[in-house]
């Protein structure tokens, strides 16, 4: 779980099938992929909370929340 100001990205490793779509198509390169294929949030400061990782995850493994 990473918190950047008011954005919180959670990756559920139980649900992730390591397809790599989130890290490949993140417009801001927020993710990098671990050796075992699970994505990690490594540049949270770049996140613009566009939600594309969350929406395009085929496995419901990413939750991006904007905390108000």
């Amino acid at each position: 779980m990473i918190i950047k100001e008011n954005v919180q990205i959670k990756i559920d490793e139980r649900l992730c099938k390591r397809c790599g779509i989130c890290s490949e198509f993140c417009p801001q390169n927020v993710f990098s992929v671990r050796n075992d294929g699970i994505p990690q949030v490594t540049a949270p400061e770049n996140c613009t909370s566009c939600h594309l990782c969350d929406w395009r995850c085929p496995d419901f493994a990413i939750t991006l929340e904007v905390i108000s």
């Binding site: 139980r14 790599g20 594309l52 929406w55 395009r56 995850c57 085929p58 496995d59 419901f60």
Partner: protein, 277 residues
């Protein structure tokens, strides 16, 4: 009024789902649940009807009412549900095998009848669940497990078929274009009459492996590159068009739906009979 989020439409007890890594079905399901939530519907107002196939399993993961029918007959069951209780929002989730191969006749007649249903047709160009056999949408020359040298038959254009048969709303998009997918689903669900959204979906395990690339990411890049909006598609040469597919909404009209016509004609017959007496 209670507002619902997309998670209220998702039955998370059954996750992780059965779909392969990089399968587009999960993305379409996500867009579907988001569309329902944004339309302000409640899970009790929606019936999700499915047939058989990879995408036919999706009723396991939704928290709306669900009806899991036989192969190709989702629209037949959905027609019964809608006429039984016209107040319900009835959505059928079908694959290319369900919608236009096994259930092709139900599909054209639902469009002709213009019954107030939404059909979300996930087209991955093959029968993924049973081992990647070719279906009625597999393009000419494409390789599948049952056409290892190339498919000798051309595939159906689902959108043209729906348009010709008389559907009120017809659109095509892909899971890569997630925002447009969600918005088209919202339009389709709201539309009175038969509406069809064809979603060209990656199948990295079968169709992708034989024709594009086995990598889920490469399949998403393929959708990004091949799916072009109407204006851009019209400027292309014929050869370029053959290499791409057009995305967007193609039909958006308001022909009276079946239930409206049925009620009108029934009331007319009633008065005529009374006059005769």
């Amino acid at each position: 009024m209670t507002t619902h989020t997309h998670k209220d439409f998702l039955d998370q007890r059954h996750l992780p789902h059965i779909w392969c890594p990089g399968c587009g079905d999960g993305i379409v399901l996500r867009a579907y649940t988001m569309a329902l939530a944004e339309l302000g519907l409640a899970p009790k107002d929606v019936v999700t009807v499915t047939g058989i196939g990879c995408w036919g399993k999706s009723d396991d993961y939704v928290a709306t009412h669900a009806l899991h029918g036989t192969h190709g007959r989702a629209l037949a069951y959905a027609t019964g549900v809608k006429l039984g209780n016209p107040d319900l929002t009835v959505v059928t989730l079908m694959g290319d095998g369900d919608a236009v191969t096994i259930g092709g006749n139900h599909f054209i007649h639902a469009a002709r009848r213009n019954i107030d249903l939404t059909a979300i047709v996930v087209n991955n160009y093959n029968y993924g669940m049973t081992g990647g056999q070719y279906s009625a949408t597999t393009p000419l020359n494409s390789k599948t497990t049952t056409s290892p040298l190339g498919n000798a038959e051309p595939g159906f254009d689902i959108c043209s078929l729906a348009e010709t048969a008389g559907a009120n709303f017809v659109a095509r998009t892909t899971p890569y274009h997630i925002v447009s997918l969600k918005n088209l689903l919202k339009q389709a669900i709201t539309k009175k009459g038969f509406s069809v959204v064809e979603v060209i979906t990656p199948c990295p395990t079968y169709f992708g492996r034989y024709n594009i690339n086995p990598s889920p990411v490469a399949n998403m890049h393929w959708l990004k590159e091949k799916g072009v909006p109407v204006a851009k598609y019209q400027q292309m040469t014929e050869e370029e068009q053959a290499q791409h597919f057009v995305i967007g909404a193609f039909v958006n009209k308001d022909r009276p739906d079946f239930y409206t016509m049925y009620q009108q004609i029934n009331s007319r017959n009633g008065t005529e009979r009374e006059g005769e007496r």
